[in-house]
Symmetry: C2
Subunit: 441 residues, 2 copies
Amino acid sequence: MKPPRAPLALPPLIARKRDGGALTDGEIRALVAGAARGTIPDYQLAALLMAIVWRGLENRELVTWTRAMVDSGDRLEWSALPGSTVDKHSTGGVGDKISLCLAPLCAAAGLYVPMMAGRALGHTGGTLDKLETIPGFRTALSPAEFRRVLTRAGFVLAGQSARLAPADRVLYALRDATATVESIPLIASSILSKKIAEGAGALVMDVKVGSGAFLPARSQARALAGALIDLGKRLGLRVRAVLSDMDQPLGAAIGNAAEVREAIDVLRGGGPPDVRALTVRLGAEMLVLGGRVRELRAGATRIEAQIASGAGLERFRLGVGLQGGDVRAIDDPDRLPRARTRKVWHAPRAGIVAHVDAGALGRAATFLGVGRLRKEDPISPGAAIILHAKAGARVERGDPLCTLHYDDPARAHAARPLIEGAFRLGSTAIRARPLVLETLG
Amino acid sequence: MKPPRAPLALPPLIARKRDGGALTDGEIRALVAGAARGTIPDYQLAALLMAIVWRGLENRELVTWTRAMVDSGDRLEWSALPGSTVDKHSTGGVGDKISLCLAPLCAAAGLYVPMMAGRALGHTGGTLDKLETIPGFRTALSPAEFRRVLTRAGFVLAGQSARLAPADRVLYALRDATATVESIPLIASSILSKKIAEGAGALVMDVKVGSGAFLPARSQARALAGALIDLGKRLGLRVRAVLSDMDQPLGAAIGNAAEVREAIDVLRGGGPPDVRALTVRLGAEMLVLGGRVRELRAGATRIEAQIASGAGLERFRLGVGLQGGDVRAIDDPDRLPRARTRKVWHAPRAGIVAHVDAGALGRAATFLGVGRLRKEDPISPGAAIILHAKAGARVERGDPLCTLHYDDPARAHAARPLIEGAFRLGSTAIRARPLVLETLG
């Protein structure tokens, strides 16, 4: 006679992981399914997650964990589309509006981009918050709407469906509340489970490096890139990872409506050179992965052509319209919201800008209302920081370094010390950091 | 303007411990108080506890943590008693009935022993479960009853009051459910917070080593002993630690009523030599700590004298009576419960007993009903394993190795493989392991 047992006795399993052992496939499937169904107490999951942050997951465990997250919900399927589905995902940055221009450009170049995006989190911006500054734009789409927009526009930019990888949603909320987000295998499985569930055939990962990145150190970024590529390989998803600079913000605009404006500038053939360059590079990677071109150079040419011809802008207009957005805001960005007050920040002395700290500016922007201090906070769509000088620029005393746009003066006041510390002025010329540090996969 | 904040933001604090940093005294006090009051979510406490298992607590943190646990409830005070209060605590073992004879013997020798004991947990026995086999004996005492019994009998053996160190109760239950028990600092603070709250002036720790111990490895036992001594010093509680063997069970009896009988045998001057020897040794340590004698040798003599004179037995009778127990069961142990069925286990061949595995026999005894497979299980007061041969004994084929006493034949069947594996027969004489391995503090 065996002793009576609960279906899954958690403490011995947590103890095994705590002591550096491995979980069986059956245990992992029961755990992930139990998390999704809410049948495993939060406190046991929390202890297990911290043990995983400590001990990691071996390859087999990670594959099973990720598959179980995919299996916890629906899985979209795009084989009937007349082209490859390729997605791009970024680990999050400050001023990163690349998705907004990249998705329609790739669609114009023949790919299908089923992009599920997120909201502002910590000091990093959220693609959904940016898009929602376009009057009428809806990010919560039904599966049928998602399919219709993707089929017709070639891209879709929507919120994560609650029916895709629900286990990830539960586990992510718990990780966020228990300081167990920072685990390479858990991050990799969270990202890839959603991409596999959304039916992407290939994925370009933009892994940020620097003060504004979620994982600031290059070694961490490289470890995550490697984990994503390896896990993708085991799960049949082609992943290519680009490590890109996030030591200073991308482009000039940090702010929801302001970044939509900057993305439109890029689609019109203008915009800041770094935003345009990274868009072209990531688009080229996507075209190679999707089999539209053989080489990056050809991919870059193809993306540049979609900018030059206006085809990318046209796709953006089409997609925004299909998602309920007012397309007049694209042709006349003054229709996008602006904050009530602006204040210019001047250089205290002459010099050469040695560093513009993305992390500090991201936090300052959050204070202004670009992001949320708490999950339930509303965002301020017009709040922004617009940079007038980036690393390497020579400024005279009194030259504008940036302009703050805000609705609430008290919040602007709170952002002051962060902005003061964000600009470092030197006296010698600096060598520009490369935008793309390396590519893996 | 500072951003609005919750009184204690847990994730950054958990992240700091996760990354090897330290918590401030204020944070620790808020955490422990919040745990006691139930204002901190279980899942955040669970993640923090796992991070502490991983990263440990530094001395200052541990002192503050322990003080905060004491401060979460009442604290007893015995300065009006005409003698020192000294307690003994064991990390738990198989067949460990030492408290039952030790407390009345030390009381007879002039100490006051305010002992709060526990219940069977895992494969280790529980002093309360043993005492409750004496008809009428009550372990749940009010503070006034506790004081009255201690004052009159010189010792009291009761359950942990819910009013002492309530934070420890909450945290222990959570640790048990989340595999976060195994942390030297958390174990040390759990033990000492209760001893300080119960008002003990000094403490002898019996730290078990071997297969039947909670921490089997000698290195772990030594680490715990060192942590207890050091933490005691910082908190003003004198602690002396004895590392004693728990590779084989203590004495011959494993079982609740059976162990009460064996303890009475020791108080009458008989009983197994190891139980008597450890009782005398720990009693001698307590008398030295309590200032009744200068040296261990004198302490041992004093304890032996309480056995020889019957004073210890008389004290036991007094204390049991004051706690509602039927003292006739002490004079006539046949009044203690016995199980319905017995079965003798025979040696399969001749040889010398090389090892009697305390861990395996503890688990086998739990199956028989000595302990609990689940917290809500009842125990079987008469269930027992009585050993007829211990390490070093020479046996012939068919000699009895042990006798199982049980009420439920199915449970006895489940215990079979464990008992089969518990006795290792060799062919060469073995050197007896010392009972006391070392003393610290």
